[in-house]
């Protein structure tokens, strides 16, 4: 494969994309930066506040600081819980799918359906589904005697949000893992049979190494989406009870559009974005590393 030629005229191809993403990303960000370093006495006259907002935000003893801190750890806990279930479950289900056969096409489509439903409708589905009186899930859980009330009980609410996310997004891990598995040439499975490898040995020595690249992408996508989840918890629990399921994005919207507390909202937005940038950079480096090793 000849290497890619260097050609700066390629910039002309990229300018349209740059324009759109500039307009919808950099310009809005400028207003956020603007608010994050100024304060106002109302009637929109602003004065320099330097890193005041940031210091409050990152100092847990302040009111906003504590609130940000709690929301951040609540979100991280949710992300790890969701990932801890979805990634292994996704790989397991991908392994259950047959490598060939008529059923595969249909199963893949059915598996993908939850991801095609608008996020607020997913909220509505589970809002109904988890009600003890009219929802199958709610009725079943309370039926077997577990105390389960999504709107009042913090644990029930939190567990429900995790269950919704597992239901909604495990298919992404399944589809990606299955694509990774199907890229493995049959000769590897034939060789494993000849060597008398057990199913587990085949998984550890052939399938898992080959799934590496795909799983990095799956984990990146899943972490990012869980880390910025907003609609489903808002619809099902409204962030409640209390702030049990008030994740970072919900809190930010409350501060920004609810209280219209510009300074805090802007600083929180920047820190929130910074975290996603860092995580993206880590995964992007791993991805390009794997790409280069695969081609070598």
């Amino acid at each position: 494969m000849t290497d890619k030629p260097f050609n700066n005229r390629a910039w002309f191809f990229v300018v349209p994309v740059l324009a759109f993403v500039l307009f919808s990303s950099i310009i809005p960000m400028m207003t956020v930066v603007n608010y994050s370093i100024q304060d106002t006495m109302g009637a929109n006259n602003f004065f320099w506040n330097g890193d005041g907002w940031f210091r409050d935000l990152l100092n847990p003893s302040t009111e906003i600081g504590a609130r940000f801190n709690d929301a951040l750890f609540r979100t991280l806990a949710f992300s790890f819980a969701a990932l801890a279930i979805e990634v292994p479950l996704g790989i397991a289900m991908a392994l259950c799918l047959p490598r060939r056969g008529w059923g595969v096409g249909i199963s893949l489509v059915v598996i993908a359906l939850p991801m095609l439903i608008p996020w607020n409708v997913v909220g509505t589905i589970w809002q109904i589904f988890t009600r003890a009186d009219i929802g199958l899930f709610g009725a079943a859980i309370t039926g077997i005697g577990i105390h389960y009330n999504v709107t009042q009980d913090a644990v029930s609410a939190w567990v429900t949000i995790v269950v919704i996310d597992v239901w909604h997004w495990t298919p992404l891990v399944i589809l990606l893992s299955y694509a990774g598995l199907r890229a493995i040439p049959d000769a590897y499975y034939q060789a494993a049979r000849i060597d008398g490898a057990s199913r587990w040995a085949v998984f550890v020595n052939i399938e898992l190494p080959k799934l590496q690249k795909v799983l990095v992408i799956a984990v990146l996508l899943r972490f990012m989406q869980t880390f910025m989840i907003y609609t489903e918890p808002v619809v099902v629990t409204g962030g409640g009870p209390g702030s049990a399921t008030t994740f970072l994005s919900i809190d930010l919207v409350k501060i920004a559009l609810g209280q219209v507390d510009l300074g805090s909202a802007a600083s929180m937005s920047l820190v929130y974005n910074l975290i996603t940038l860092t995580v993206c950079w880590i995964f992007y480096t791993i991805m390009t590393q794997l790409e280069r090793r695969r081609d070598a």
Binding site: T2, K4, N7, A10, F12, F13, V14, P16, V21, F23, S25, P28, T31, V32, A92, M93, L97, P98, S107, L108, V109, V110, A112, L113, P114, L116, I117, P118, T124, I125, W126, I128, F129, I134, G135, L136, A139, P171, L176, A179, G180, V202, V214, I217, A218, L221, M224, M228, Y230, T231, L248, S249, I250, L252, V253, A256, L257, S269, C280, Y284
Partner: protein, 268 residues
């Protein structure tokens, strides 16, 4: 490793569990509120399309769906048209800052919508586009243009570079080569990318509801409005929910061979 039966059973169980909530929504949508409240029923004993008919005759709902379909269509067209040349450039050439730009697109794709809710609100208000389909269409470019670039770059990579060179040797000018030879080769790639842009714009709710108030209210906002009004009209909500699932379920059949490649941002 003969195909033992266990994996098949687990798979079928999983599929059933996966479809249960969706089935339950359909079940709800076919029952009247009183019927729902009267007691649990595994299937609609006397199903009625009353709610669906209600929605189709209610101008706010029809307007809601119309608005949503409009901004999604606009966004998809913009995203794919804008991303095509860029994806070709990213895959075929090195240029100053290509790595950093490609990474920056990824960060936009992953940016939390909540962070942009307020800035977009101010921006589109200032620009005078607030409460129009264009506001939401342009706002969704934040993540859909990068998504389109990444997925298309994956498909462009599927076409060997020697084909571009052979076309150059045959005498094709770049535009003619791109349209006559190259586009047909990534036709299914463009289709899949359009599908994913459509989907990610269709499912998004926060920005869509934040940037609209009355004229351009999307279906999602109409749904949230119907919560508070007359208490919980469950069957109406269910019916509306079922209707929103139709576009995805229909279109996916045509791109079923490339679903994974689309979701994996073209990296698989």
């Amino acid at each position: 490793m003969r195909q033992s039966l266990a994996p098949r059973i687990i798979l079928v169980v999983y599929l059933i569990v996966l479809m249960l909530p969706i089935y339950w929504l359909i079940n709800m949508s076919l029952r009247t509120n009183s019927d729902i409240m009267s007691g649990m029923a595994l299937w609609p004993h006397h199903p009625t399309f009353e709610k669906y008919i209600g929605i189709f005759n209610d101008p706010t709902w029809v307007h809601g769906f119309g608005v949503s379909l409009t901004y999604v269509a606009i966004n998809t067209i913009i995203s794919v048209t804008v991303a095509l040349p860029a994806a070709y450039a990213f895959n075929r050439y090195h240029f100053i800052g290509d790595k950093h730009l490609f990474f920056w697109l990824l960060t936009n794709l992953m940016a939390p919508a909540a962070v942009y809710a307020m800035p977009f609100f101010n921006l589109y208000y200032a620009v005078g586009l607030f409460d129009t389909v264009w506001a939401v269409a342009l706002a969704h470019c934040l993540f859909n243009v990068p998504l389109a670039v990444w997925i298309l770059e994956g498909f462009v990579g599927g076409v060997p570079r020697e084909i571009d060179e052979t076309a150059a040797i045959d005498g094709y000018s770049f535009p003619r080569f791109f349209i006559r030879i190259f586009l047909p080769l990534i036709a299914n790639g463009v289709g899949v990318t359009a599908f994913f842009c459509f989907m990610f714009s269709w499912v998004e709710e926060l920005l869509a509801t934040t940037l609209t108030s009355s004229d351009a209210l999307p279906f999602a906002a109409v749904m949230t409005r119907s919560y508070s009004a007359s208490g919980m009209d469950w069957s109406l909500l269910a019916a509306a929910g079922v209707l929103t699932m139709i576009p995805g379920a229909v279109v996916i059949w045509f791109v079923r061979n490339h679903i994974a490649k689309g979701f994996a941002l073209g990296r698989v």
